[in-house]
Symmetry: C2
Subunit: 220 residues, 2 copies
Amino acid sequence: MKKSNLESAPKRVARIKPAARAMAPDERYDANVDHILSSAAAVFAEKSFGLASIRDIATRARISFPRIYYYLRNKEELLYLISRRAFEQLVSLAESRISSNNDPEERLRLFIRSHLEYHMSNLAEMKVLVREADSLTGRYAADITRLKREYSRICRRLLEGYAAHRNKTLDREQTRILTSLLFGAMNWFYTWYEPARDYEQRSRIMDECFRMIAGALSAR
Amino acid sequence: MKKSNLESAPKRVARIKPAARAMAPDERYDANVDHILSSAAAVFAEKSFGLASIRDIATRARISFPRIYYYLRNKEELLYLISRRAFEQLVSLAESRISSNNDPEERLRLFIRSHLEYHMSNLAEMKVLVREADSLTGRYAADITRLKREYSRICRRLLEGYAAHRNKTLDREQTRILTSLLFGAMNWFYTWYEPARDYEQRSRIMDECFRMIAGALSAR
DNA sequence: GTGTTATCTGAACTATCGTTCAGAACAAGA
DNA sequence: TCTTGTTCTGAACGATAGTTCAGATAACAC
């Protein structure tokens, strides 16, 4: 049985940890892919995609390097799957959070919290997502671009909703600019966040971020 | 005569374009280094540091690849000098802009304008600066970190000055967080700026950016 | 047990990388 | 023209990259 991750998902048996004994075959296969992907994310985050080697990733994952090719097609697919997973998780996390509330202000705030919380607990993945945004090519790139646009649209809608709620009118350009500025502010996060120092500031950070984008609507 | 770019600057003769005939030897040497560095910046911006090869850079610069080693020590030094130049230019541009004004609000606005204008006219360099921030090692890395801190401190000071001017008190944490959010918003710029589409929006973008950070101080 | 299929790995292949170097080409002063 | 030092390049180096594959090993059905 072989891998083909762009279209469908194959399933088979393996084990990376002896502990993972009691799993069903499919679960183990998925767990192995997971383990490889998170190791790859860590290595890509540390050395960047271009400077990281398959052998580095295998070492970090504590497996032999040809084993990676049993589960994944090639190096680019590693990056693709890391990115896809991250975006899918971001989208579904955001959607589940904002669905619980109807107040436009609260919805925007929840989106920011959702994005930053995911960022804080998935620093390696986010670093990869942000830095390697255009290291993918062809269908891989197209696929990720689509997801990114989807995610971005959620944010833009929330911003529009919040503006309307405050009786401010934003034209297309303003909405686009403000959305980009907000994503910039949030995506820069991994460059300065140090868990040991900043963990207790988490909600303050999220508040400041909301306050900032909210404030951008004040003076008009 | 040889190169040594961490400490002092060497000088000698060469010519990359026949046009650059009338230059003095030192000027030509510097012009050649410049030409190599800006070609390297373009290639690093396009393919990332890790994926770009010396041969790619030489091709882009239309020179033979060993020639790069006549002027520069190694690949890392290319990245180092690109980064150092960019930061030095950013610092001196910002300083010359804000020195012309004493109003705290205008000074902050001028800093933002300065940063974004530089960004807009040096997209490749900024992309490299932002993405390859930690691809340097040892003294190279230490040197750039120092410059970055210096530049960042300028911004922080301006933010503090502006807050004081509006009778808001910011504690250390808030200042740090807001500075980081502002830099994030600005440094994300290269990911969405398309000259053909956005050139006319330049000052609007800078205004929105200022309004955003100014607005962050409003609601307290 | 045997057979079958899924899983894994050592070894090897080719390409390309960063870097070096011996010497060619060139410029300039004598 | 000859000399001297600077500038440039073709060719080559060792290292390491991504990837493949034949065969070893393990898992399971019978």
